[in-house]
Subunit: 131 residues, 2 copies
């Protein structure tokens, strides 16, 4: 199990991407819009994982609600595993609760989310290793 | 630049460590008390970084205030660099603001913190690569 990315909620992904790119000394940023999730994302690569800035693109987006309640900041972490189905089974056996079943994510991955109450307040994505 | 650890504020580090150890399938946890920072920490190793659970041990701890305001959850991320002095200089040149100067951290590292207003709401530790 390793960290795949750290996701941060922001009001303006283009403006935040400039700030992060400069601060982190990164030389590349990838932008991606995910209409089904109601977000526009900036992906900033670090050596061992990525930082993802997320801006809501619809009023019903959970990121929109997060920003209204807490303001911009750390939103979730993503844990990567080569065997997502096996991990979900193992975790369920430990009493871990999930938000929805395993479903298609970006770049050919499969994803699900661990309920924050199972990780003492932390929302965690579980994603499969990209093939 | 890479992620060194993800820090999570919790009420009871021993109880949370059990939950995280089981959920993440980790077979080792290291506990550390840092009286100068007013925290007790559980360090859970992942493949490419660590998860650190932090419980306040004094009433004046910033973690105590964080928990009272927001409850348990993601507190900060730590970025590791082999040249912390050079990075601080470079970042200051980009207008990044710091919370205090570079000072001794745990395990022989040197650390400082980037002000959340310089990273759109995210508190980030900057730490030197352990020698």
């Amino acid at each position: 199990m390793k960290i795949n990315h750290i996701a941060i909620a922001v009001h303006d992904v283009e403006e935040s991407a400039k700030v992060y790119k400069e601060a982190l000394g990164s030389d590349s940023i990838l932008f991606e819009t995910v209409p089904s999730e109601g977000v526009k994302i900036a992906i900033i690569p670090l050596e061992n994982c990525t930082v993802e800035l997320m801006q809501p693109t619809s009023k019903s987006s959970p990121i929109k609600k997060f920003l209204e309640k807490r303001g911009p900041g750390l939103h979730h972490i993503a844990l990567e595993t080569p065997d997502i189905d096996g991990e979900v089974e193992r975790m369920k056996g430990c009493g871990v609760q999930f938000l929805g079943s395993v479903r298609p994510g970006s770049a050919g991955t499969r994803v699900t989310f661990i309920h924050p109450k199972s990780l003492h307040g932390v929302l965690a994505e579980l994603c499969s290793t990209s093939s």
